[in-house]
Amino acid sequence: MHNQISILLSKEMTEGFRTHRFLIWTIICGFFGILSPLSAYYMSDILALIGSTQSVQLTITAPTYRDAVDQYVKNFTQLGSILVIFLAMGSVAGEKVDGLLQLLVVRPIPCRSILCSKILAMVFTVCSGLGVAVILSSLYAWYLFPGFPVIPFVKSNLLLMLYLVVITVMTISVSAMVEKPVVAGLCSMGLWLLFSMSGSLGGFGEYSFTRLGSEMIRLTQGFSISLKPIVSSLVILIGGSGGALISLNRWEPSQ
């Protein structure tokens, strides 16, 4: 089974490279990584410029690394999440539509190997893109904001990584449960919005994985973090993968 996963993973990775999925995600991550500290740093100048042209008096505080981290987290937890859903929504459902999944299912391969390779390949893509963003963002923030806590920032990115991995696994799982990529995309988007809305509430909302973004900011600033969103993330990862596996084992190509 190990060997089969490595063969399938190699295929998934090659597909990611040849269809430019990997490249697109990495470029966007790199862009977010550079944009976040730059926009935070120059935002006051931009606003001051706008104020002077409009003859408006604006009081703007000096930018800090916290603004850069806020911007960075917002970029990834909003646009980044949508992009991850977009990249992962067709991973299983797309192959069902194209008739490619039956090419695998007809061979003596367990469905868990197929699912595992798809998840691992997407997680690798997401994490390596995020890695590029961490490097670029740290460099720019360190240069622009004296006293930028590089090590805590890098560590706190593990929470952001978990956030994106949850979205990846959730989308792939939905993709394994439905027949069309668009449906998978819409359902995943709906789930993500649901978790985001519940995350803004107190009580049970504290368990929403979408709280990982704010926990990341707290960690960068040196505060302790709540483990509740981490626990819920692990539940989603296990539950989502399990549901997807059951669904894939039951899947039959349409007539």
């Binding site: 090659t14 008739g99 490619l100 039956q102 007809v106 061979r107 003596p108 039959e252």
Partner: protein
């Protein structure tokens, strides 16, 4: 000879509709088996069950003596509309397929060379599959299906999407394959099946209505006929009307051609000749047409529909 495929009372239900109704059949080792039937008869459903893609609602099957999921390693499968990763090259797809069957790298390399030549796609081996023509995809599909030397190769309508040249080439390829694998193919192109298959089963509305070897079937079920070609369509129609008045059954094959069962032709020969002469009906040619699988097929399908 041992049965390579044994199907026992397989039923498959889709939303209250039985696509297959208790089908049983066996295919001997080394045979080229044709599974015939009109569209929607259940051909693809049975092939998908044998390929392990769908599960039967009732019944079971054995391939090479083993049942259900364990059969996958003995089976090669070509879908009716095969699709492969467009970003892979033909060679890469074959290598990927071989690796999934656990073949060694050396064995895969040798087998790929062999199959690229056998299937006539060596010139396109390193091109992306996205740029392949329909015929090339079909040939690549056959290559990936037999790469691991399966005991049974399941081909679902392998030539239906091809042009005449492609059809001929693929049929020749299937004929060559009989030496290394048992072939189970579905088709509704009866001429092709007659050309390559040793055994056939005709399926209609999910049930097998005829099963046997092709030659004995043709001898016992098909009736050879005489075909008369007339100079004008008016002559052909007039002849048909005269035949009806004489209680001889004839059928219009086209505007100019009339077919009569060979037995009837022999019995009514003097009458036919007299009619032609008396009414000055100009016959261009008279020929004997051998029995075809199409006759057998049409006869049984019509019989079934009447029933």
């Amino acid at each position: 000879m041992m049965a390579m495929i044994e199907v026992q009372h397989i039923t498959r239900r889709y939303h209250e509709v039985d696509a297959l109704k208790g089908i049983s059949l066996s295919v001997r080792q080394g045979a080229v088996f044709g599974f015939l039937g009109p569209n929607g008869a259940g051909k693809t459903t049975l092939i998908k069950i044998l390929a392990g893609l769908i599960k039967p609602t009732l019944g079971s099957f054995r391939i090479n003596g083993v049942t259900n999921a364990a059969t996958k390693k003995y089976v090669g499968y070509l879908a009716q509309h095969p699709s492969f990763y467009p970003w892979m090259t033909g060679r890469e797809l074959l290598r990927f397929s071989g690796e999934l069957y656990g073949m060694s790298s050396t064995e895969i390399g040798q087998r790929i060379l062999e199959l690229l030549e056998l299937c006539g796609i060596q010139h396109a081996a390193d091109r992306r599959i996205g740029g392949y023509s329909g015929g090339m995809v079909q040939r690549l599909g056959i290559a990936q299906a037999i790469l691991h030397r399966p005991r049974v190769t399941l081909l679902d309508e392998p030539v239906s999407a091809l042009d005449p040249v492609g059809r001929k080439e693929v049929l020749e390829l299937i004929t060559r394959l009989r030496e290394e694998t048992t072939i189970f193919m579905s088709s509704h192109i009866l001429e092709d099946v007659q050309r390559v298959c040793d055994e056939v089963a005709i399926v209609s509305h999910g049930s097998i209505i005829l099963h046997g070897e092709v030659k004995p079937l043709l001898q016992s079920h098909a009736r050879p006929r005489m075909s008369l070609e007339f100079a004008t369509s008016t002559d052909a129609r007039a002849f048909l009307a005269l035949m009806a008045s004489q209680s001889v059954v004839g059928a219009a094959e086209s505007d100019f051609r009339v077919a009569i069962a060979e037995d009837d032709y022999r019995t009514s020969y003097p009458n036919i000749m007299r009619m032609l002469a008396e009414h000055d009906l100009r016959v261009v040619s008279i020929g004997r047409q051998s029995a075809t699988l199409e006759d057998v097929f049409m006869h049984h399908i019509e019989e079934r529909n009447h029933a």
